[in-house]
Amino acid sequence: MGDDPKKEKAVHALPMPDPRTVPKTDAAVAALFELHHERVYRVARRLTGSREDAEDVLQTVFLRLVRREEPVPAAEEAASYLHRAATNAGLDLLRRRKASRSEPTDDLDRHPDPAPGPESSRVDRELREKVMNALAQLNPRAAEIFALRYFDGYGNREIARLLNTSWSTVAVTLHRTRAKLQSALKGDIQ
């Protein structure tokens, strides 16, 4: 599973925005923001590899709720709803970036790691970028399933429940998506 539920429980006691200063529905969205912004940011950051893009995703996800473009999820569904919203917004951003090719897909050069380790080497970053771009070009549903499984640690049955599909569909999708990524990255990986 993704985030630690105990940690989420602890966050419930954090101070919230003063509801006297914002309309009630906005107060509900603001409350969701305080509870879940970290989850949304972490998901987006993993997908995009970029601080600026992750921040864009964070803003986009909650702006849609503020503008009523998406219904405000019930409290008990908020974590999974926002996790999926962040995943899809992150993948959308990668697709648009790939299509436009107007700017680099990571900002690690703009915000260099102060103590880069072996895993943040140039080769690693290039490979990471290739993997994410290849993933973003796949069927959106398959890309979402793959991201939930390999980046967020959801099990196949959890993904099936989350996406209202069968365990076998998830398993087959993951198998096919791995094969497609292996093929797309041929020459770069074993």
Binding site: D18, P23, V29, A31, R45, A75, I189
Partner: protein, 63 residues
């Protein structure tokens, strides 16, 4: 070692992506900027913070 062996596996790259976690400072700074952009108040430590412990608490915030 062959040249093939020098290349990482797909699982190694996926693991690298999975482990790339942002710092607390980075998350907090991003949250502060987005809060400001969306017009949310910064969380304030008051004597009576809102506690959400149940669906009823959350629903009380809805119109």
């Amino acid at each position: 070692m062959s040249r093939h062996d020098d290349k990482p596996s797909l699982d190694a790259v996926l693991g690298s992506i999975r482990e790339d976690a942002p710092t607390r400072t980075e998350i907090d700074a991003a949250a502060d900027r987005v809060r400001a952009a969306l017009g949310f108040d910064a969380p304030v430590a008051s004597a009576s913070p809102i506690h959400i412990e149940s669906c009823a608490d959350f629903q009380a915030l809805m119109p």
